[in-house]
Symmetry: C2
Subunit: 475 residues, 2 copies
């Protein structure tokens, strides 16, 4: 029974895309809905998102972020105010044209992102330097009319947070842009156990309307890159389009400088594709909605279930579930593995007689026989240990799949044969970026902050190189 | 300065509607947006919603509720599946007709509520009695095309939670319906300090598609009623329309029995209109995002600000803010009052010399001089005390504005001269309900659970009475 259950997941080496879909479905993270491209996030998936929200929100608020909520609709006239922005988003929005049975005078789109709405608000509520900075954020859903969709990775509607800030100076805006990128990076490493490459996007890849876009990029198990979060510095471009001005201390009118930054439910896709294995999901213990599954063995024997509940009480410092359903232990094991619950505690009559239990780690399958007197203490030690080791493994995998190329030939060969990041120098010319995309199938992921030089010349044209770029095939 | 600031709020006795609008604006709870009928919930308002969410969500989860997220769009065909439901909602939905530049084959509405989507999901994931009950909830925004809107009370888009459950038996569904209504009631009394009248809606007022709708009704300061939350028992009507069946233990196909229940940001409107006064908002201490505002007096004098921060540390068990801005103390007092912060702690050079501080309660204006050694302990006692007294005052106000009528003449006179609830007997006939609406301007609020009889006959037609009804003028 257990085996049947497990065998229904496609091996990732056979078909990674199908493996991903199987996990999403079998771990009950999400389901397709009746609306093409929209997903239902089921409780097991939503609980992961709730933990992401709680932890990120705490980190945001420590830096002075305040949450708010803006309307989900943007009138067409408002969307049109910043030229680059509307060009970037108008082709992929959903248009509301009727309210009840009446046609609208001006159609509205469902927000694909809310820069225009925040600008409208800031133009209204910012008057003096005393009103700055504004560091607002909202947790909401946004809609982008995507042709090809995959649960969590790319869907027509998705959940995210979008921070939007307004500052008195350009310097302050740049500092906030980087500060938020750093928060994302630390969060992903410490909480999701996913190491990130951080850097700046090329002009081709930057956000519509931004002066500079910074990104965190992760490497998935199949060697593809996933853009996992972005932070944008808008300079005063939006402020000029929306006329957001304040009087400074010398009573002069000045434009504000703005930023925006966001991460989405896509992070759940990253967790699946970085940590999952052929038995299912593997959740980092700090993230896991259920950290410990207590599975009674021979649960009908007297005292077994009582002991299982007793252990749950003992472990009340953690998020614990007793699986007391009438399924077989093997089935329960397989289910716990598919769902990625970090620790399984097996307790049966023999264990009880010996005052012990068996802990099984989800990631390594390591079995640890532990005295019941030391169960709590052992789990308390295993949580940070497993968390640390998962990050280390993900980092080792990424590093082992990060290559360098100094010639176009090397770049193409590596792209063809070795899935992963490829580092190569670039002249800064979009023509070379496009040629690399066309000939090697690689897009620029970012220009990392870490200063590194492979050669003096562009991998593509041979002219003087301006920056090292991480290239990759991306989701 | 302080006076000017306060005087800008209209007296509630002069113009209650304007008083409400002034508070929403001056306390920076919400702002109008560029989209007619949509509001921006500003940080001070959103923080109240976050506290409502956190506390309600905790209470939900204790009863086994699981959160999830369903798409915001409903295809027209899906909305049309349950006849009463579509008749109730279709006239007030926003229609999406285009994705990007292309017209949709089937238009979709933005969810006004998600019964149809949950039914679609349950039809898909419920097969066996083992899959039941499903007790799902989502926190999201919904859209209803309202003509007349007011911030928090009635807006085109609003935030809410909607719980949707599926059960094996009718009994279980009825129990869950009542259980959730009881959770709402207790939450409103304990956390918002608002007493509720609980009961069943008449057929005329029940939810489109429900077998029975239960409601919690509160009385606002101006004597109008506010429907504050509802819980619906759908029986198996939706299950039949959407074909949601499960095989029971005898392997027979059965329809599930369903419920739904929700409260919204409207609760913030209730808090304003039940507790607010002519100086601004008054927040119950358990709900308040900031519970204590420490306001330094003569803050430029040496040691004053240091002491203020020290007190903040001392009060770290509570939600505390030091107002160290360069405004005058009087201005800060007025601001704290407008924002409804429950306690103000004034600390100046003289207080420091005497090792004391002055606590001022927002609701009663009572000043309490307290030794700094007892500050924490005093606040810890004042929080539940103020919370309790606010509930008691709200209950006394409601009871003093609850009247009875046994004749139509009495009913009309009371409705005209005494704003409040009016209890009167009813025969159960919708014709009488409509006549009372027409002649006395009263709608039926609910048939309360508490068993009470005023007379044997209907207040309107004189026929045999079936139930006591609370009548009122409603928001």
């Amino acid at each position: 029974m257990a085996n049947n259950f497990v065998e229904s997941i496609t091996d990732m080496e056979v078909d990674f895309a199908q493996w991903y879909t199987d996990i999403v479905k079998k771990a009950e993270l999400a389901d397709y809905s009746g609306i093409k491209g929209c997903m239902v996030i089921r409780p097991a998936g939503y609980a992961i998102w709730e933990n992401i929200q709680k932890e990120l929100d705490r980190r945001f608020k420590e830096t002075g972020v305040e949450n708010c909520y803006l309307p989900m609709f943007i009138p067409e006239g408002l969307l049109n105010k910043e030229k680059d922005h509307v060009a970037g988003f108008a082709p992929e929005v959903a248009w509301v044209t009727h309210g009840g049975s009446e046609p609208l005078q001006e159609r509205m789109c469902v927000r694909p992102t809310s820069e225009t709405l925040f600008c409208d608000l800031y133009a209204h509520i910012v008057q003096s330097y005393r009103d700055l900075p504004k560091v607002y954020n909202q947790w909401c859903s946004v809609v982008r009319w995507e042709k090809t969709t995959r649960p969590f990775l790319r869907s027509m509607e998705f959940l995210w947070q979008e921070g939007h800030t307004a500052h008195a100076t350009a310097k302050e805006a740049e500092e906030r842009t980087i500060q938020m990128l750093n928060i994302y990076t630390k969060f992903c490493e410490e909480f999701l156990a996913i190491p990130m490459i951080c850097g700046r996007k090329t002009d081709k890849e930057k956000f519509a309307g931004a002066e500079a876009t910074y990104t965190i990029e992760a490497l998935m198990h199949d060697g593809k890159a996933l853009q996992s979060g972005t932070s944008h510095n808008f300079g005063d471009g939006f402020a000029k389009a929306f006329n957001i001005q304040y009087t400074d201390k010398e009573n002069k009118l000045q434009y504000v400088h703005q930023t925006s930054w966001g991460v989405s439910t896509r992070l759940i896709g990253a967790v699946i594709m970085v940590h999952g294995d052929n038995s299912g999901l593997v959740l980092p213990p700090l993230l896991a909605p259920v950290q410990v599954a207590i599975i009674p063995i021979q649960q009908k024997k007297e005292g077994v279930l009582t002991k299982a509940y007793e252990l749950k009480e003992k472990l009340s410092a953690f998020r614990v579930k007793v699986d007391d359903s009438d399924k077989s232990p093997g089935f329960k094991f397989a289910e716990q593995e598919i769902r990625g619950i970090p620790f399984r505690v097996e307790i049966g009559p023999k264990d009880i007689a010996n005052n012990q239990a068996v802990i099984v780690r989800r990631d390594t399958r390591e079995k640890i026989v532990v005295s019941l007197d030391e169960l709590e203490e052992t789990i308390a030690k295993l949580i940070p240990l497993m968390q640390k080791e998962m990050l280390a493994r993900a980092r080792a995998h990424r590093d082992a799949h990060t290559y360098s190329a100094v010639t176009m030939q090397q770049l193409k060969e590596t792209a063809e044969t070795k899935p992963g990041f490829i580092k190569a120098m670039w002249c800064g010319d979009v023509a070379c970026e496009e040629k690399i995309k066309e000939e090697a199938g690689l897009s620029s992921r970012c220009m990392p902050f870490a200063n590194e030089t492979l050669s003096e010349t562009c991998v593509c044209c041979g002219k003087k190189a301006k920056a090292l770029v991480y290239w990759g095939k991306a989701y």
